[in-house]
């Protein structure tokens, strides 16, 4: 009667959920930020995102061929890495630099460790760190949004040098810290722009509304937990508030820190990368607090105006230690034996 019976471990049914589904969810969550990038930076945004995604995917394919491993493009993790990298780059970055960054992300950040799941550092941040170290000027040249500069849409990526540039809100506040005066007036005027996104900055980080929209989607889909974003934003807010209370003239107000720069984008999309974040809830809180605090320390005390990338990479490095520290204890307590 019955031929060909399958035997396996229980359970014999499973929830319809796959790694691919998880990654596609993240990509969907990034859509609002990509749309905002498209609105403010027009063709630059599309070219950069396209370049990064294509190069990440191609690099992963080549690496798998060389390693004689099955093709892993189906899990869409390379696509997500590409999008996140693109959204963290300055809009006017030449495409060849973006391509190099993408290749480094995948080769050094991911495949060198053994592929998805084995990497210690967030691949996109590895690529971005490489670009920051290699092409310092390009990585800090911020084109203004197209809605401010009407000449923008017609420009090709090659014309980057001639593009009108502007300091990012955080760079402004940095100068303000040094000059000890301008901060208060500046932040009041620009807080609204950092919420809508009509400011200079990396592709995907400018619009707080778009990022929150995507973040809420990820939370609703349970693709990410609220722990890491809450810890990052909460600790950053506290750190910024302390600075503001110490000297309100020199430091911008805390809400301004939350909406400007990569903090919001990082809290929802970069620090929440499951592979490089701790497993346990307690670990996630620690990790998030670490990212938020280090970011603010760099912003307030450091030489760079922005510190999200370094904060994430630093905390990635201690993730295994956090995991070891925050071991789960069984529901019934530690066994006595």
């Amino acid at each position: 009667m019955l031929k060909d019976i399958t035997v396996s471990f229980a359970p014999h049914i499973s929830k319809p959920l796959s790694t691919r589904r998880v990654m596609i969810d993240v990509a969907v969550g990034l859509l609002p930020a990509m749309a905002a990038a498209g609105i403010y930076f027009r063709i630059h945004a599309l070219l950069l995102i396209g370049t990064c995604v294509a190069w990440c995917a191609a690099t992963e394919w080549v690496c798998n061929r060389i390693r004689r491993k099955p093709n892993s493009l189906g899990d869409f993790s390379a696509v997500v890495t590409g999008i996140i990298l693109a959204l963290s780059l300055p809009p006017g970055l030449p495409l060849w630099a973006a391509a190099i960054g993408s290749a480094v992300s995948i080769i050094v950040g991911k495949m060198a460790f053994g592929g998805l799941g084995a990497n210690v550092f967030n691949p996109a941040m590895v690529g971005r760190a490489f670009l920051t170290a290699s092409f310092g000027v390009m990585m800090t040249t911020w084109t203004v949004p197209a809605s401010i500069d009407s000449g923008m849409p017609t420009l090709s990526a090659a014309d980057v040098v001639d593009t009108r540039t502007q300091a990012t809100p955080l760079a402004w506040s940095k100068t303000a810290i040094k000059d000890k005066d301008e901060a208060k007036t500046y932040s009041g005027r620009l807080l609204f722009s950092t919420v809508t996104g009509e400011v200079a900055g990396s592709l995907g980080e400018t619009s707080a509304i778009a990022i929150l929209l995507g973040g809420v989607y990820l939370l609703w889909r349970k693709t990410i937990g609220f722990h890491i974003p809450a810890a990052v934003l909460g600790s950053a807010f506290v750190a910024a508030a302390i600075a503001y209370l110490i000297n309100a003239d020199a430091y911008v107000q805390p809400f301004f820190h939350l909406t400007s720069g990569a903090l919001l984008f990082g809290a929802f999309f970069i620090a929440t990368d499951p592979v490089t974040a701790p497993l346990t809830r307690r670990g996630m809180w620690l990790f998030g607090i670490g990212v938020g605090t280090i970011t603010m320390v760099i912003r307030i005390l450091g030489e760079y105006p922005e510190g999200m990338m370094f904060a994430v990479l630093l905390m990635n490095a201690v993730t295994p230690l956090i995991d070891r520290l925050c071991k789960r204890i069984p529901a019934g307590g530690r066994p006595h034996a």
């Binding site: 019955l2 399958t6 049914i13 499973s14 899990d75 937990g225 529901a331 019934g332 066994p335």
Partner: protein, 457 residues
Amino acid sequence: MTDDLKDGCTFSRGVHPPESKHLTEDRPIEPGPAVGELSILLSQHIGAPCQAAVKKGDLVQAGQKIGECQAFVCAPVHAPVAGKVKELALKPHPVLGRCQGITIEAQEPAPPSLPSFDLPADFDPARCKPDEICQAVREAGLVGMGGAGFPTSVKIQPDAKPPKHTLLVNGCECEPYITCDYRIMLEWTDQILAGVRLAQRACGASKVFIGIEDNKPKAIKAMSAAIARAGSAGDIRVVPLQTKYPQGGERQLINAAIGQTVPTGGIPPMIGVVVINVATAAAIADAVLCNRPLTHRVVTVTGEAIARPGNYYVPIGTPVEALIEFCGGVTEKSAKVVMGGPMMGLAIADLSTPITKTGGAVTVLTRHQIGQAKFERRQTACIRCGRCLEVCPENLNPTRIAHAVKSNLLDVAESHFIGACIECGCCSYVCPANIELTGYIKTGKIFLARQRKKMPA
């Protein structure tokens, strides 16, 4: 649904697999097939296996004890039908692989008749001596019929240390598909209640809770009505619980119903709690009041690949094959035969495997269904998403344990409390990378047991 059902108690974490109980929940218990040959396994419980008390060629009576042992943690086995002992041989066992069994050739194969149970009008558990109840339960070969198969007489021992304060009756049936306990609760309500009161009398518990998931409102109503009829509503109470898997795991049930936690590595009696299944309770009434040993049980034969799913009353020892045939055979698409439900049940390769005291269901899954299941798909790398941690009812770190076992680092697995795993399967169920976490953990436990020389390699 009444108000008190809405906010049912529950434990932390767990999963919500599709219930799939619609296939059989409205099918009343019917007599099973007439079977010519029954194989009674000698190890159907936790504890020392029985020794055969009969030889090849012996004639046995229905209800005769055919296997027993003197060990404290053990339960004898009985012949379900009158017949001749055909052979004593190794038979396929759902858990152990192979096990010594006694094959009985029935004198005249006939379908089993549904047992009649009439509660004596003057039934009063106070008049039974606890020792006598316990002895009758032991003689009847009762074991936990929910799946684990711990000898019931050991659980309800009178005067055990520490004293028992609570008796929990498990009517959760949280496994998808299975409906045998549900039907028993609807049809044998008074018998269950009588058994519960006898068990309470034996173990001396002052409080009794009957935990039922709130997806079975009819069962909650029926049990509550029976309690009201018996006039003992004061000390027996039905507790509606949230429908969530594994609500029926005894550690989870205790936590949900009375808010206590069984220590890791411990068992419920350590905190003064006894947990018995509703089917076991019914069998206790049978054993004590009617002097009937445990030779038959209700089995749910179900699954999308079964032509006529239903709940059947069958003699223990009936081969799975005969049951499936009796239910109209299987459809062409069938691919997997599971003894038990799809979350914790054991897939069997040999269809001559007999039904045991603990096997409440035979679930036949289709090729399509198992194609959807994760073990059929390519296992990809763990992305450390932490979903297994989010669902683990025992608050373990399944991915860490499973990967330690995979790398043969058993000490690491132990340091993450591999022994505390209840093997409920929630982690494998949710894993997006199709990793068989539960499978690795089970394997690790076997390796560790071998390492301690408790099990031959």
